[in-house]
């Protein structure tokens, strides 16, 4: 564990360094408050600190205030070293953001005990952060595939469409559906079906750029948001992604299963300003068109043919089974 000692007095620094190294700490020693604040405000800076009260440039309470103001990501446990034993000073020190104080000269055993208390607090904080991140992930991701869930991918789509409209760019969205997925479940069982969905998700994710988004839209449907993807490239990109899925059978617990997908494709620049729901509906109609065309293919939603696609979807209710 890294620990920072800030003390302008060399002898005091040396003594503390010795005590802490003996206890197994990785010690960083600085001689003024400004250096201490700089070290502690680094994202990967020490999370335990012993700060002398009186120091040049910035005193101990000043360091505490600065660290509390600037380091937000991880908590720093700060102990003030002081010969100021009055109640007023102790209150002032704790109000500045210090967690504890030790009266100088330090008794090694007391100091070690107080540092262990600090470590316990930091461990608790780590556990809380981990639990929060876990909950955040669960709230935003699909548990089976690890992709964004429907709520998040829709939110991201809405934001990207707004941004590209502002910047007069183009966002391309792909709505993909695994062909005959029900048959996979029926023939191989739900466990194999889950294997297929997980592998399809992996293939989709690995076939897009790091700044594109992939989400599970529902059942066997996936929504892909390609940022800054022009309409002229949209079909070719969709075809690449489709082929990435169909390229080789998926290895499941019940053996290899051939998997293909059909895609509806829509580029926002072709459609002007429309509500997200409307664009998604048009993409869905294009997906129906690809199903009607025999599956394992992509169809681009075209504003001029929008009515025809709608008509096609109405004429083909069985495609709901996909």
């Amino acid at each position: 564990m890294k620990i920072l000692i800030a003390d302008d007095e060399a002898l005091s620094r040396k003594l503390l360094e010795k005590i802490l190294q003996r206890s197994g700490y990785d010690v960083i020693a600085v001689e003024n408050g400004r250096q201490a604040a700089e070290q502690l405000c680094q994202p990967d800076g020490p999370r335990l600190a012993l700060l002398d009260w009186m120091m040049p440039e910035l005193d101990g309470p000043g360091v505490c205030r600065e660290v509390r103001r600037h380091r937000k990501l991880s908590y720093v446990h700060m102990i003030l070293l002081t010969s100021k034993e009055s109640k007023q000073h102790i209150v002032q020190g704790l109000q500045s953001g210090a967690d504890d104080y030790v009266v100088k000269p330090c008794d090694p055993q007391e100091l070690e005990a107080r540092l262990r208390t600090g470590l316990r607090i930091l461990e608790l904080e780590d556990q809380l952060v981990e639990a929060r991140e876990d909950m955040r992930f669960k709230a935003s991701h699909d548990p089976l595939t690890g992709l964004f869930n429907r709520g998040v991918i829709m939110d991201l789509l809405g934001r990207e469409l707004a941004r590209t409209h502002r910047e007069q760019g183009c966002t391309t969205m792909l709505l993909g559906d695994v062909d005959h997925f029900k048959k996979v479940n029926d023939a191989y069982g739900h466990a194999a079906g889950d294997d297929v969905l997980r592998e399809v998700a992996r293939r989709l994710l690995s076939s897009v750029r790091s700044y594109d988004f992939v989400g599970r839209f529902g059942g066997e449907e996936f929504l892909i948001v390609l940022n800054n993807c022009n309409a002229s490239f949209a079909f070719a990109r969709a075809e690449q992604i489709r082929k990435a899925v169909a390229n080789s059978p998926v290895q499941t617990s019940r053996g290899p299963v051939a998997v293909t997908m059909s895609f509806g494709v829509l580029s926002s620049a072709d459609w002007g300003v429309r509500p997200v729901e409307e664009l998604l509906h048009e993409t869905d109609l294009a997906l129906y068109a690809s199903k009607a065309a025999g599956r394992n293919c992509c169809r681009v939603a075209n504003p001029q043919e929008s009515g025809a696609a709608a008509e096609l979807s109405l004429q083909a209710p069985p495609s709901r089974t996909r």
């Binding site: 060399a10 002898l11 005091s12 040396k14 003996r22 010969s83 100088k104 008794d107 090694p108």
Partner: protein, 124 residues
């Protein structure tokens, strides 16, 4: 040698407490004493300048530093003298500063030969 130091300077230098604090590490003690011998004159000079210029805030800061040094080396009486100067600096009390400084120097003067003897003994 340790006993000699204790006997000679027991009244100004709490040697046993210091050794306990540093886990009876004689080599480390020598290192600390060397730091003290190096830093003390500079800190004292800074205090004297502050007293001469009647810069009371500086008197408080310089005395505080010295008090920390003395306390760390268990030089209790010197630490008490420095604490008195620190208090005077904080309360802007100019009368008696010279006397308080003289007392501090006197207390340290009692310890310095002991420290020298210890360092010399350890070298042999």
């Amino acid at each position: 040698m340790q006993n000699a130091v204790q006997n000679t300077a027991g009244h100004v230098f709490n040697f046993a407490e210091l050794l306990e604090r540093i886990d009876n590490d004689a080599e480390f003690l020598r290192e600390l004493l060397s730091i003290f011998k190096r830093d003390y004159p500079r800190r004292l000079h800074s205090l004297k300048e502050a007293i001469t210029g009647a810069e009371m805030k500086q008197v408080e800061a310089a005395s505080h530093s010295l008090k920390g040094m003395f306390s760390n080396l268990a030089m209790d009486r010197a630490a008490a003298a420095a604490a008195r100067l620190e208090q005077m600096g904080r309360n802007r009390v100019r009368v008696g500063l010279e006397d308080a400084l003289a007392l501090l120097e006197h207390e340290v003067a009692g310890v310095l030969p002991v420290l020298d003897a210890y360092l010399e003994g350890a070298r042999r």
